[in-house]
Amino acid sequence: MAVCIAVIAKENYPLYIRSTPTENELKFHYMVHTSLDVVDEKISAMGKALVDQRELYLGLLYPTEDYKLCRYGYVTNSKVKFVMVVDSSNTALRDNEIRSMFRKLHNSYTDVMCNPFYNPGDRIQSRAFDNMVTSMMIQVC
């Protein structure tokens, strides 16, 4: 179950951050922000390979600490990053499930971009995107 989902622009500022309301929002913002270090490192390491060979899914970022909160990363070809914080205390989520969640996110993001009224680089304010994220945050895998 995802507790926080964030979409980060190419210049590293947040386009969309949402976390479960019960928790301290600031803590999640910090978590997402610090995981960008690992994302950046992984992108620059992959940058030397050809574009086709680049994997979009980055996998687990920082090692789990005692929160039992895992951070996963995903980067699109236009350098937009998705970071997901997942609470794995209830069920152990398998890698595949995380990947499918990211794919869903990516599809929704593409839909947002297709909207001719959406200006790339602005905050995402789409209701459809919100609904999709809500469904991911309360779903039980």
């Binding site: 929002e25 600031l26 690992v38 490192e41 920082y62 600490e65 001719p116 200006n119 680089g121």
Partner: protein, 817 residues
Amino acid sequence: MAGFINYKICRLCFQHNTPLDAIAQFRKHIDLCKKKIGSAELSFEHDAWMSKQFQAFGDLFDEAIKLGLTAIQTQNPGFYYQQAAYYAQERKQLAKTLCNHEASVMYPNPDPLETQTGVLDFYGQRSWRQGILSFDLSDPEKEKVGILAIQLKERNVVHSEIIITLLSNAVAQFKKYKCPRMKSHLMVQMGEEYYYARDYTKALKLLDYVMCDYRSEGWWTLLTSVLTTALKCSYLMAQLEDYITYSLELLGRASTLKDDQKSRIEKNLINVLMNESPDPEPDCDILAVKTAQKLWADRISLAGSNIFTIGVQDFVPFVQCKAKFHAPSFHVDVPVQFDTYLKADCPHPIRFSKLCVSFNNQEYNQFCVIEEASKANEVLENLTQGKMCLVPGKTRKLLFKFVAKTEDVGKKIEITSVDLALGNETGRCVVLNWQGGGGDAASSQEALQAARSFKRRPKLPDNEVHWDSIIIQASTMIISRVPNISVHLLHEPPALTNEMYCLVVTVQSHEKTQIRDVKLTAGLKPGQDANLTQKTHVTLHGTELCDESYPALLTDIPVGDLHPGEQLEKMLYVRCGTVGSRMFLVYVSYLINTTVEEKEIVCKCHKDETVTIETVFPFDVAVKFVSTKFEHLERVYADIPFLLMTDLLSASPWALTIVSSELQLAPSMTTVDQLESQVDNVILQTGESASECFCLQCPSLGNIEGGVATGHYIISWKRTSAMENIPIITTVITLPHVIVENIPLHVNADLPSFGRVRESLPVKYHLQNKTDLVQDVEISVEPSDAFMFSGLKQIRLPAQAFYTYQYFCQATGSTHG
């Protein structure tokens, strides 16, 4: 005990170069021991122990790295120090709640932590349970006293110091492993710890450093939280400049505070500007607040400087500014106008006391100041009225106008800075300073997004403009006044090479007043091919031919003054030495007095005309050598006359007058006849040609390589339409060399020009022997049916110099002989 054993295992693992084993072991150890908190009143001890474990492991890891182990970004000692710091923070929290005894509670006597022997029997056992080997906690009194003792001891521990040390170790590690954002996050935590430890200076230093990172990456939530802490620190220190700066940013568009928070901060800011103490920040320590209030009371005395100038390009204040010139260039006789747009993002209207704009030429500064004398207590009243008031969300436009100076023509006028003053000089004053035409830390990204956006903005009432649609134009060029004269050129292109080509320049003034100091510059436009420049000559005097010494461009010829409507004419003569296209420039400059905005200024105006003049060859000269029978000759024979034929083909579109021609022979040539020009005063239209024929002869000179020089053919000509006083141009054509050959024998026939049928026709043949020796010659004449010959038809005789044979022929019928 477990801690000890774990430590030993990990250390051994590291020494055996199996760090992953060490890490796994440590994880297991932690997971096992995490839940074993022990007694609730002393739960802080558990956290202290956890913290110690992490710290110890971090140290081990670091040691292993120093001995050669490599760590990576996601697995390095920094995490362990961070966790150690986290537990130390938890410990501090628990200690605060659990050890919060009143001052009257005394440390128990005798000290339950002391033992009779001074050492413990078993490591880890409580000191007041010495001697008891079972878990029997039979003496609750003793327990309570023991717990109290530990709690009171805990109160003396300086938690913040421990936390800060652990955090700085973690920061150093993360710096090494390239995790800048992790480093920033930990530095924020360190800043917050310093705040708790009342070391506000150090806290502010750290927080200031970290703010830049969050600002540049656009994480406003994080920036706001850091700013809030910083504001608290600056309040508690009564540090005016920092307090004001942080308030400015917390009121702005980057801050994610709610409106009620922002209102509170705005009220405090206004209080500070009016020299009153601000309200304390919420959630501050009560004792600290009391100290702060005393400090603020001291500040009211206004000792020290009270005008703070803050440059805004590095942060995001709550007032935005954009300056825009109305046009990218202005004529010097038009007043320069520009608008300054201001927008406030704070929740309530705010009043400013002065706006001034500075330029690269300081003399214009005085025209661009808005000031309103207002007393200190009026700042809160009349907030929505007046020009000096900024209403949140609305864009305020301020127009400035001034007249440019004549010295600035051709230069750029740039806005160097805009200063906006809040508060006033008698109280406290904050001057916000924008460099250039405006813009702060977030405005460039916003401008980029606005430029990309296709959104149609709703229409606003006439005076108002959308903030996003304003683009900063911080400089403008001053150009000279539009000239009101006409310059006409009259000429007849194309020009012919070497002729004095006449160009008539007519200047007429359409200005309403007299113009003075009119100067004319005319000639070849600079910047063209160097060859053209060398072969172009301009002069004002048409009566003499200009030679190489004349320049290609005549500059600043004074022409006098012109009254309105007056016209003057000037004639220019150009001589082009080569064919081709040339660009000519005629430039007229003058001075005129005009009034702009009730000021008299002198403007220098200029107007130029460019014209392209083609130069062509006037004529083509063809020279050929023919025999006296007009047969083409490849070579000429010595002492035998031949003809030189010249043909002048006019290639000029204009009628040419050939005034005269002259043949200048080389010394080796002699003329047979009188040399007279046959083309005197001939007028050639386009395509017509004039020919001349000269009879020459060349004495024997022996064998000369390359032929003998013939001489020069000089043609004097001019354009038929040219005026009387224009000089005649002479063109010299070098005649081709001719090969001279010696022949031993030359035969010349002397024939009358016509004969009559049945009448005798005398024919004389002259034979010449050019050699030094006597030659034997055989002569034979071929009979022809058309003629009857008398005389010897075949003779053989020695030829000496000259023989003449005479034949008489009679033609029969009509023949051509």
